[in-house]
Amino acid sequence: MSEPVSALDGAACEGFARVAEQGPRGMITLRGDLASVAVKNAATGVAGVDFPGQRECHVVGERGLAWMSPDELMVMLPHAEVPAAVATMTGALSGEHSLVADVSDARALFRIEGPGAREVLAKLAPVDLSPAAFAPGMIRRTRLAQVPAAFWMAGAETFELVCFRSVAQYVFDLLKGAAAPGGEVGYF
């Protein structure tokens, strides 16, 4: 089997925050009634983290569950586990009105790390990124300049961000520009 290759092959840059494209991450879209026990069990069973409430995102390493909309979750897990997880979830939800789709290769994943990470995103998204308004455990779907994106925190000064793979270079360039040395605002 051929090796999965991420969109930018791990491109990285150092500014007042470090921006780095990440290796392939398994991502599965799960749509259905999020109040359903079968849906909850299918999601937590493969992700191994707590079920998220509205706009919550629970991540532990490469595994996680993110609340994407009232009827949609993103399930994250190591890329190699995706085929088995899709089969497990599809089987568990055979009697449910639901959708399980492997979207791993439709996405690019970035990490933005460092004390200035909040500022990098605050320059690009119409989101209140003050520590009081956005903290670990939350996810925000929004736009980054002109393209859709979603981000959450993987630590006190670390963000993970997903966008469509087709705009990975655009997003990398945006993040790189926003994190350029000398561009610190010092607001947060």
Partner: protein, 109 residues
């Protein structure tokens, strides 16, 4: 700058995160309707200076449709509610009445 609260995901979304969807609470007239009804359904829209009801989609967010009750002349927002709502809820009407006594919109007042 317009900021609308998305009732589906709870985000106070800035206008650039949203896509406008035109007038809300239209009744569809399709096959079997009269020409006048169909023309009205397709083309006749309110263009008020004041209270208005509009459809918006949280396009860069949760992707869901909702309805906003707002004033076109001041950009004041009276409230938002899910698009799966046939008529403005009472709390929205009360909020409008509190700020704009005597308001009217189509056959609502």
């Amino acid at each position: 700058m317009l900021i609308l609260h998305c009732p589906h995901c709870g985000v106070d979304a800035e206008e650039t995160e949203l896509a406008p969807g035109g007038e809300a609470h239209l009744k569809r007239f399709g096959p079997g309707s009269s020409d006048a009804e169909f023309e009205s359904y397709l083309f006749h829209r309110e263009n008020p200076r004041g209270v208005h009801f509009e459809r918006w989609r949280h396009a860069f967010g949760c992707g869901k449709w909702f309805i906003a009750a707002r004033a076109t002349d001041t950009l004041e927002v009276f409230g938002t509610y899910r698009a799966q709502t046939a008529a403005p809820p009472q709390d929205i009407r009360d909020a409008i009445t509190a700020k704009r006594p005597g308001w009217a919109w189509r056959d609502l007042a």
